[in-house]
């Protein structure tokens, strides 16, 4: 019981620091980033490039940076982690660093598998280059269109 009272007192001064303006600012930032991402994604398909693969990779890099920025704002502001004690932040942030290895290692693995198969499995490469039979997009009765 004492503990509960303790926590209630613990958070009482937060009432004064709670900032509605900061929330709406975060919301606007998230909205702008999302709209910007959409403009990039749609723009890429509307335009033609001399080296589309390079542009696509560049664009994916931009998307990753913007996504991480959005994640940062959600965690720091909406989830209020940015305002907690530093040691608490670290117990969340340091394990999250595992993702760096996690993503890097597995994507590397995937692309290595692709290259190995394309090099040593001719059948797979030829199959994957064959054009699909051009067919009407499945228009079944009852499909919503």
């Amino acid at each position: 019981m004492e503990n509960i009272h303790g926590t209630a007192e613990l958070h009482q001064d937060d009432a004064h620091t709670f900032d509605t303006k900061a929330i709406w600012r975060t919301f606007r930032i998230l909205l702008y980033i999302t709209v910007f991402e959409l403009i990039l994604a749609i723009g890429y398909y509307e335009m033609t490039f001399s080296d589309p693969h390079f542009v696509k990779h560049l664009l994916n890099g931009v998307f990753i940076v913007l996504t991480l920025a959005k994640a940062f704002f959600i965690v720091a502001e909406f989830m209020h982690l940015g305002h907690e004690l530093r040691n608490l932040i670290l117990t969340i942030a340091i394990p999250a660093l595992l993702f760096l290895w996690f993503i890097g290692a597995f994507l590397w693995d995937g692309s290595s598998y692709k290259n190995l198969r394309n090099t040593y499995d001719r059948n797979h490469l030829e199959q994957s280059q064959q054009k699909a039979p051009v067919k009407e997009e499945a228009k079944k009765p009852g499909s919503i269109e």
Partner: protein, 224 residues
């Protein structure tokens, strides 16, 4: 008990709160941490498979429809609406937490109501999208969409899409249920009697996490 901090004060021997947060809130953070790795594993396996494929369906082609209007000149319009709804419901959730800090029971109820509505709206959008894609012939084990280079695609795309958005949708669903329980408890005055609205904060953490995951799902499936 002495309040002066001496060198041998035992911060970690119990009875104190070294992180200055309530136990349940701290544990919610660690649960979300583990849940992040579950979602991470899903998304990274998707990435691995996609990196090992020579080609992949074009999201701009797959996600081009909008309810009632049919096909849109602006692809990805519908998923943008879904993203907007989820971010918006995250905002109303923070406002509910803020109202809780001010011990304003009525405002907590209003904002929780909006958050629940946002969650239900998101789920409805997802239900429409799933129904629409199912109508086009897409499902687990079936993929009607060609790769972007015109070659025959495997079922990897639909399998990952339905599994991951389904797992996320399940989180949204459980979040809505938790929020409804919180709304009922607020309405009954449980938190008012308790003297604090920390439960709203904990439910809020879960709800923001669902929004956080959607940011990554959105990037991985709709933008890349």
């Amino acid at each position: 008990m002495s309040q002066t901090i001496t060198a041998d004060r035992k911060w970690w021997s119990g009875g104190k709160s070294p992180f200055n947060v309530e136990y349940g809130k701290l544990m919610m953070w660690y649960f979300l941490m583990s849940d992040a790795f579950t979602f991470g594993a899903f998304l990274i396996s998707y990435g691995t498979i996609r990196f090992s494929s020579n080609s992949w369906p074009d999201p701009n082609h797959v996600f081009r429809s909008f309810p009632v209007i049919g096909e849109m000149p602006i692809p990805l319009a519908f998923v943008s609406l879904m993203t907007f709804i989820l971010i918006m419901s995250s905002v109303t959730m923070v406002l509910a937490v803020g109202a809780g800090h001010a011990n304003d029971r009525k405002k907590v109820m209003i904002y929780m109501g909006w958050t629940i509505l946002g969650g239900i709206a998101f789920l409805s959008c997802q239900a429409w999208e799933w129904t629409h894609m199912h109508g086009e012939g897409a499902w687990w084990g079936r993929n009607p969409f060609m790769n972007i280079d015109g070659s025959q695609s495997s079922t990897n795309f639909t399998n990952f899409f339905f599994t991951i958005t389904g797992f996320h949708g399940f989180h949204v669903f459980s979040g809505v249920i938790i929020n409804i329980i919180m709304l009922i408890m607020t309405w009954q005055g449980v938190f008012e009697r308790r003297g604090h609205y920390l439960m709203i904060e904990k439910a809020g953490l879960y709800w923001h996490f669902v929004d956080l995951v959607w940011v990554f799902v959105f990037t991985c499936f709709y933008l890349f």
